[in-house]
Assembly symmetry: C3
Homo-oligomer: 259 residues x 3
């Protein structure tokens, strides 16, 4: 009952690939490109016009791309100017404000709010209610858990908006806050409910308000489990090394990079 072309409206100026499914009540605005084999579920808005639309009679909608094989779940709003890679998965009622770049194989959970002009890399996993403020940068293979907030105003209210950065392979647990302009390095683990007020070096386990360094994550031993971080050696679900293991994948990647 989901793909009946009931009340679906697709602009004549949109480009729809092969085998694309579009759910009932979904609207696709001008200058949207939906690549092959993507699924847009019901009640979505793809290419929601930017603010200027309300006042400028000759407004033209910026290019918006949903990559091939992506799945956009129901009730999601994707503003004009977003570029989503291939195999992206977006949860229910997500809001992607204007001009975000979202990498391949990245997942964004239910009710998350990506505020615009945000760069998110490949293979990231954002859980529910994640709020990323404008001008933030999330690198690759980053996990962000529910209710995490990245802020961008160092002394609110100000004109000096500056987003934070989260490095590759880093995990940010639920309810943590990363303050404006802060750089969290690669391979870090930020404990639940932390407030990150200063830069975090690579391989740090940090927690608390304000967050303090607990130890090098490579020395973190869990009783009966041993050393679990970096996590890529023990977890591969949905990752590019899923079939061959992280070391083998790294080796292949290094060889490819050298060529």
């Amino acid at each position: 009952m989901m793909f009946n072309d009931l009340n679906v409206r697709v602009s004549a100026k949109a480009s729809i690939g092969k085998n694309v499914r579009i759910g009932d009540n979904t609207v696709v605005f001008d200058n949207v490109v939906i690549e092959d084999n993507a699924t847009i579920a019901h009640n979505c808005v793809i290419g929601e016009p930017q603010n200027e639309y309300y006042s400028n009679p000759v407004y033209e909608n910026p290019l918006t791309v949903v990559g091939s094989n992506s799945l956009i779940r129901s009730h999601t709003i994707i503003y004009a100017g977003n570029k989503l890679g291939e195999n992206v998965s977006i949860g229910h009622r997500v809001t992607l404000r204007e001009n975000n770049l979202i990498g391949h194989h990245t997942v964004i959970g239910t009710l998350s709010d990506i505020q615009g002009n945000v760069a998110i890399g490949n293979y990231c996993r954002l859980h529910s209610y994640v709020h990323i403020s404008q001008f933030s940068k999330i690198c690759n293979f980053v996990f962000i858990f529910p209710n995490v907030v990245l802020t961008n105003d160092p002394y609110p209210p100000s004109y000096d908006l500056k987003g934070g950065t989260i490095g590759d392979y880093t995990i940010v647990a639920a309810h943590s806050i990363i303050l404006s302009g802060i750089e969290v390095g690669e391979n870090c683990l930020v404990g639940a409910n932390s407030v990150i007020k200063k830069n975090v070096p690579d391989y740090s386990l940090v927690m608390g308000n304000p967050a303090e360094l607990v130890m090098d994550i490579r020395k973190y031993v869990i009783l009966g489990k041993g050393k679990l971080y970096p996590w890529m050696y023990r977890f591969s679900k949905g990752m590019p090394w899923e079939k061959i293991g992280y070391e083998a994948w790294l080796g292949e990647k290094d060889m490819a990079d050298e060529q």
Copy 2:
């Protein structure tokens, strides 16, 4: 203007009881049972197909039940496989992922996100933006306030997902986090913004990050008010002891249990 049969779509394979009202723009999928006197407001999706629907051409939707006299407010998404008891009340834009069991007389507030395979008992009150991760268990008469998160991954990302448990009559104040696998006992009070990292015995008042035991809740005296916990002796709104008082109800219940 709410129940006009405008743009309502009900699968021929759904079962709709007596005096059921279904709001405009609502969709009811296959194998949904809506029991007598239930009200489904506008723009809801009842029986949203599970993931497999997108790829399996012979997918069959699991049974989904909305109990009698329940009220599902507008814009709510209830996935296939949920079983809701009688007199359940669900707020706006709630997301119930697949296969939750939700007891009688339970209330789930606006924008809450119940992630699937969760058991919630009778007479619970979940407020707004409550996030319950998969495999969690909420017993009966539990109050959970806004932005509380129950997590289920002990050392993310891992394959060892394990939900938490919250015992009967326990109250969890706003913004608290209960970590994976933790058991919070009965009759506890978790203060606002707490992070629960270890099991909490019955009758505990706990708070902080990490949460520590403050005192036995039965010894907690509020100036000018006296002892207020356990709360069942002073609060009965919407509870089964509303008309007779908690002690009398307990007595009746004990007699019934003995038979």
Copy 3:
């Protein structure tokens, strides 16, 4: 493609001003007044009936007002009994429960949840996922950042609901909680992730759980920036002193007040 009168339903008992635009799939219930030049985007519900509607056959919808030049973004639900001033801007998927008063030029962000019987003044900025419980009072020029919660139950569950108050010019950073009945004064700055358990005097910088006074905000010096608070002397975007400066505006206001 947004204002096509497609599936728009406006009650014959609603009053629609001049140059009002109403987006597709939006419903306007009885006794709603939409003043001149307001824009209601698509998929909104304006004047959502109060609870009684479901059971009272002679229910009459209370007066609901959207002020002139206001912009209500898509998927927002505004209950009956709300009164919104002029030039109000409401984000996507906001829920305004019944009987709130919202002042002129106030902005409420995506997914915020204003629980009803709340007073919000003029020129306030509420960011995303802000949860304001019933009976709270937000004065003028207040900034509230994502995931802030104002609670209203001093010893839950109780019948003694009492909202908090936030004074003029105060800023509450992300993830903070203001407990029931607390008064936060004017010109305060509440740090991220704070829990406010006691009243906060004017001009306080507070933070922590429980929040403690750090210093008088007027003495707060930021390296290389000097004294930045009160903020009105350095920030004017969207404020009534935008063109003339705060001091000049204050002077004009004082003169006007004297007459």
